[in-house]
């Protein structure tokens, strides 16, 4: 399934060390990685193996300690904080385990938030947010606050917020970690649709094999290394 085109995402010998001296922890150890446009990747592995660390680097929230990260050919390591923020708001969408919605703020306002930072005018913003809420099946809930929504619904609002800006890549760190299996499957099916129908590249961290089943490629992390990287046979 690899193509000749340049990969959208490329890590070259990326290491990340937390702490100093005796207390130093090597979260990532010379990781090489390529992900192309349109892939649906699961990152798996035991706790502390470096999944979140690599996802944060791929999401431009963090920078490699050493090695190079190219996003669409751009060396992210040499960008400033604000330049990385611009990259995030133009091309990346985030989904968190804990949803991270703003409390006491309606669903639609939560979804509009990234568009505000992109300086999109209010009316256009509202339309785009409504569209995104429709895509996750919450058009009837747009004026409810997170407190009035179930966990599954909250995560769908968070997904709407992640896709509203039409990102090229969705990054999800254990998006189903706080949900029961029925809600988890709903979420995974939704992500699969965005991947297949809209061609959004999705990279998600999970430790549940059932969820990883939805992905087209599975990576196994251990002690800051990728120990296996396999394409999944289309089971459907």
């Amino acid at each position: 399934m690899q193509t000749d085109t340049t990969p959208l995402i490329q890590l070259q010998g990326v290491s990340k060390i937390y702490g100093k001296g005796q207390a130093a922890v090597k979260a990532l150890d010379a990781v090489d990685l390529q992900i192309h446009q349109g892939e649906f990747v699961a990152m798996m592995g035991p706790s502390g193996s470096g999944k979140s660390t690599s996802l944060n680097i791929l999401g431009c929230l963090d920078t490699p300690g050493s090695g190079q990260y190219y996003f669409d050919g751009v060396a992210v390591g040499s960008l400033s904080r604000d330049q990385r923020a611009v990259l995030r708001r133009q091309f990346l969408g985030f989904i968190f385990q804990g949803f991270n919605l703003l409390n006491r703020t309606s669903a639609i306002e939560n979804v509009e938030l990234p568009l505000i930072y992109r300086k999109i005018p209010a009316r256009h913003r509202r339309e785009m947010a409504q569209e995104a809420l429709c895509a996750v099946g919450l058009e009837k809930w747009q004026n409810h606050t997170p407190g009035e929504l179930s966990g599954g619904q909250q995560q769908r609002v968070a997904i709407a917020r992640a896709i509203v800006g039409k990102p090229r890549v969705l990054l999800a760190d254990e998006p189903t970690g706080n949900l029961d299996s029925v809600r988890s499957i709903e979420i995974m099916e939704m992500l699969r649709t965005f991947n297949q129908r809209d061609g959004i590249t999705i990279i998600m961290v999970t430790h549940e094999p059932d969820m990883a089943e939805f992905c087209k490629r599975q990576m196994q992390f251990q002690d800051g290394h990728i120990i296996s990287d396999t394409a999944v046979e289309d089971t459907l």
Binding site: A85, R88, R89, N100, L102, Y117, K119
Partner: protein, 404 residues
């Protein structure tokens, strides 16, 4: 992020925590309202004093023996008193005068029938009424012969009339001042209270010579009041009087005079000088209260930033720039502090309006002070909101998102 959105967001956050916001801005509210009400009342009082004094006549010079009074001390008694001739000399040799009134004063017991009232007695000429702006209510002023001969006639103020005569008309009646009988030839129109709270209508006016001969037993003049014609410079006249009096009293050039000539303006300046000191003190109080208010805002903003760490992390992750977050928290603290300033201004003006009614001074709206108060309370929000806002803007998104 656009400024308007940021502003709306700040309003929402402030309204969400009503009690906390109210407590946060309390310091600024109290400080600003105190200053606004004080300044407003103070300028009302100054205006009243100034206008009352100029009603007495801003064109009036006081010529008195003794070196100039510093503050409300009064003249020294050791210098030679003036005589009627000094007043005549001023009248004859200086141009541009409206009236020259030599005055001497004493106090006495006014008695009519079984009523008696202790009052102040002024010995003067008809010029006294001109200089002090007294109008006749009934009767007439002194005749030349009464003034020359020192007859026992008098004019009385409204207070004396009320105390001694109740509803009777006093004109033509005879009353006693101490042991001497006086015929009342007229009454004076009411003037009311002076700024210093004394009753101006509590007076009896008799011919100067009568007072000198029959009551004081000397020929001294305590004060010469000089009213300058409109359009003539009082300072010029003041100089001329000084020269004339130095000559008459034989004071060598360069030697310090044993009398003084004072202008109403100087008296006003002495009084408003106190206001300047007061204003300086008030500004210091304002500064301190804004400082305290600002520290209150900084404190709450720091707490708020910590509480909202995850929110900040989320905003940063989904594309907020450092300056977006900085602006968000700055706008919030400036909104808080200017809201405090606004409430303080309204409370201060309201309080001042109420108090000025109660104590009877005019309500003087000072737009400059109001604008300054608003400006400074806003500035407090920027200055004291900056540190918390910077703290928020510089958070590491990953750690902020992980924050419990």
């Amino acid at each position: 992020m656009m400024l308007w959105e940021t502003f709306l967001l700040a309003q929402k956050t402030i309204r969400r925590n009503k009690l906390r916001s109210a407590l946060t801005i309390l310091g600024i509210v109290i400080g600003v309202s105190a200053v606004i009400s004080m300044v407003t009342l103070g300028s009302g009082a100054t205006q009243k004093v100034t206008s009352d004094i100029s009603k007495l006549g801003s064109n009036v010079l006081h010529v008195r023996p003794g070196q100039g009074m510093r503050g409300p001390g009064g003249a020294r008694s050791s210098s030679d008193p003036f005589k009627i001739e000094d007043a005549t000399a001023i009248k004859n040799s200086i141009a541009g005068l409206q009236a020259v009134a030599p005055v001497a004063e004493t106090s006495g017991q006014a008695i009519y029938g079984s009523n008696n009232w202790s009052t102040s007695v002024t010995g003067g000429t008809n010029d006294f009424f001109i200089v002090q702006g007294w109008d006749l209510d009934e009767g007439r002023t002194f005749s030349d012969s009464e003034l020359q001969a020192g007859k026992s006639v008098c004019l009385i103020g409204k207070t004396i009339q009320k105390e001694l005569f109740a509803n009777e008309s006093p004109t033509g009646k005879t009353m006693r001042l101490g042991k001497i009988s006086f015929k009342i030839i007229g009454t004076l129109k009411e003037k009311g209270q002076s700024n210093f709270g004394t009753d101006q209508d509590d007076l009896v006016v008799i011919p100067l010579k009568t007072l000198q001969r029959r009551m004081a037993g000397n020929s001294d003049v305590r004060t010469i009041l000089v009213a300058v014609q409109e359009g003539v410079s009082t300072t010029g006249v003041q100089k001329e009087i000084e020269l004339l009096m130095r000559e008459r009293r034989g004071i060598a050039p360069g030697q310090e005079a044993d009398f003084h000539v004072r202008d109403m303006k100087e008296i006003i300046d002495t009084l408003t000088g106190t206001t300047t000191v007061l204003t300086a003190l008030l500004s210091a109080v304002a500064g301190v209260s804004l400082l305290v208010g600002g520290i209150g805002i900084m404190n709450i903003m720091l707490v708020s930033v910590t509480e909202r760490t995850r929110e900040i992390g989320t905003r940063l992750a989904i594309g907020a720039l450092e300056r977006d977050v900085l602006l968000q928290f700055l706008v919030e603290s400036v909104s808080l502090s200017s809201l405090g300033g606004l409430i303080g201004i309204l409370l201060g003006l309201g309080g001042a309006a109420l108090c000025s009614k109660l104590i009877g001074v005019p309500f003087v709206f000072k737009p400059g002070i109001v604008a300054a108060a608003f400006f400074f309370s806003g500035a407090v929000g920027i200055v004291f909101g900056y540190v918390p806002a910077k703290k928020a803007a510089q958070m590491d998104p990953i750690e902020a998102l992980r924050y419990e």
